[in-house]
């Protein structure tokens, strides 16, 4: 996987929910090795090198359209870095380093078993799943989507064209099933489950999968400094030794990174 660093122009930014933004930028690099894929991310920065915060912010690819060269990020405004990103307007520029990370192996996922794939997301963890569903659908394995939100879900209409079904769980009961997403997921019906969300959710999904011997793939999140595998600041201890979330990951087999107890 190769990453480059460049300036990108902002096409637009919208609020999708009170603290959730959708940022669309131009990604015009024509080289196929620098084309972003589902599960990969970029290091974003729209402030000077000598300005706080010190580090750029890793944000996953929400969507990419090769024809229009548009790259979309969906992120939660959480701290100093994302606050600054949220002020970006059409015409502004920002620095992008990427695409970073391994991403989901969509070709392998589409070929697993009879190709019944479930994609499971929690909150802002749904961000990398849109491009995943899109790529899965294009590979002939339209997934079923299971998502959990605290309260009102966001961004789901975008998923509809690429998913065989969409099921929603909310903590508040505002929409869909009242409870955790693991309450509506039946791993026995699938050959593979791909998940991204809070660790506690991914661990719950993995446990459920393990009970039914359904393979489970997860995408992790960590604080990062370089995003390129250079600083080892985002290392996670796995069953096969220490691995960088930014370069070896962020996508891992769940059994490598989670325990069952």
């Amino acid at each position: 996987m190769s990453a480059i660093n460049c300036k990108a122009k902002v096409i637009g930014q919208q609020a999708v929910a009170p603290d959730i933004r959708r940022l669309t930028v131009e990604w015009a690099d024509p080289r196929p090795e620098f084309r972003p894929h589902a599960g990969q991310f970029y290091m974003l920065r729209c402030w000077a090198a000598d300005e706080a915060p010190v580090l750029s912010r890793p944000i996953s690819v929400h969507d990419f359209d090769a024809a229009s060269h548009t790259l979309t990020f969906l992120y939660q405004v959480k701290g100093q870095g994302t606050e600054k990103l949220s002020a970006l307007k059409a015409g502004d520029t920002l620095s992008l380093t990427g695409p970073c990370g391994n991403g989901f192996d969509v070709a392998a996922a589409a070929k697993s078993g009879t190709g019944r794939v479930a994609v499971v997301g929690g909150g802002i963890g749904t961000a990398p799943l849109l491009l995943l569903c899109k790529e899965l659908a294009a590979a002939g394995a339209k997934p079923e989507l299971y998502v959990g939100f605290r309260d009102e879900p966001y961004g789901l209409e975008e998923f509809l064209p690429y998913c065989a079904a969409v099921s929603v769980a909310t903590d508040s009961g505002a929409v869909g099933y009242h409870g955790l997403v693991t309450g509506i997921l039946h791993p026995e019906n699938f050959d593979l489950i791909l998940a991204c969300g809070p660790n506690v959710m991914m661990k719950g999904v993995y446990k459920l999968c393990a009970e039914h011997n359904t393979p489970c793939i997860v995408s992790l999140e960590r604080k990062m400094a370089c995003g390129l595998g250079a600083c080892l600041g985002c290392t996670c201890m796995t069953k096969v030794g220490p691995r960088t979330v930014c370069k070896d990951g962020p996508v891992f087999a769940a059994e490598e990174v989670f325990d069952l107890d």
Binding site: D50, P53, V54, C226, A230, C231, L232
Partner: protein, 305 residues
Amino acid sequence: MTDVDLHVDLLGKRLASPVIAASGTFGFGPEYADIQDLRVLGGISGKGLTLNGQPGNPGERLYETPSGLMNSIGLQNPGVAHFIEHELPAMKTLGTTVWANLGGHTIEENVEGVRMLCEAGIDFLELNISCPNVKQGGLAFGIRAVDASEVVTAVRKVCTVPLVVKLSPQAENLTEMCKAVEAAGADGISLCNTFQACAIDLERRKPVFANTFAGLSGPAVRPIALRMVWQAVGAVNIPVIGLGGISTGKDALEFIMAGAAAVQVGTANFLDPCACTRIVNEMADWMQAHGVHSLDEIRGCARNN
């Protein structure tokens, strides 16, 4: 137009520029190969090695401060043998000098690691006696001059390439430390490594880092690092490589004017993945604007009065 020549002759090697990527911030180099032209760099100091490798520290490893970054990586590395077999070959193809950075828990480990690395073929050996993030070894040799002298003396006997010793700002007495390392046979000194620092997580009411203390780097430490480089240059007759928060060409030139033979760039690589080449260009721009042809014309100039 002034013709600017940024090359540096360092311990028998020709460096394309004085800007060397600092250990721990640049992987082994290939990570940045698609991002910038690495041939412009003076060298790459690889991720700090230990003879047998280690998994690094548990818990938080990064914490941002105003103009700084705290880290507690804990010398996570694959070990010398793995490096020689898997990472060194690629590092040698990058078109810049190869610096192997090695630390060790014991003198014997350091000696064995240096022997293997020299045999495998590297340009510089940077002996790290200054890592604040490992409980044993690491900084153990970097506090007292007598301990540093012992390990450098032992390593010197087997080191067949230029030996640069990377010092800690935590040294008990910096000038004594520099002199001891020089007397023990070091060919050069690089300083300084990160500054031991602390942060508390209010919600958990505990230190942010599992080891309580971590290493602070970045622009926040630069003026202190510059002072230490100034002192080191005054203390020894071997080349001093300056580092600590260098983020711009002007920062780098300050270290050169203080007498540094070359500089290393670390945390700035995270603020800007093209920092190293940008700093080289900014140095050249300044020199051109000021009619300076080579770094020799300004190296140490701030010391003359």
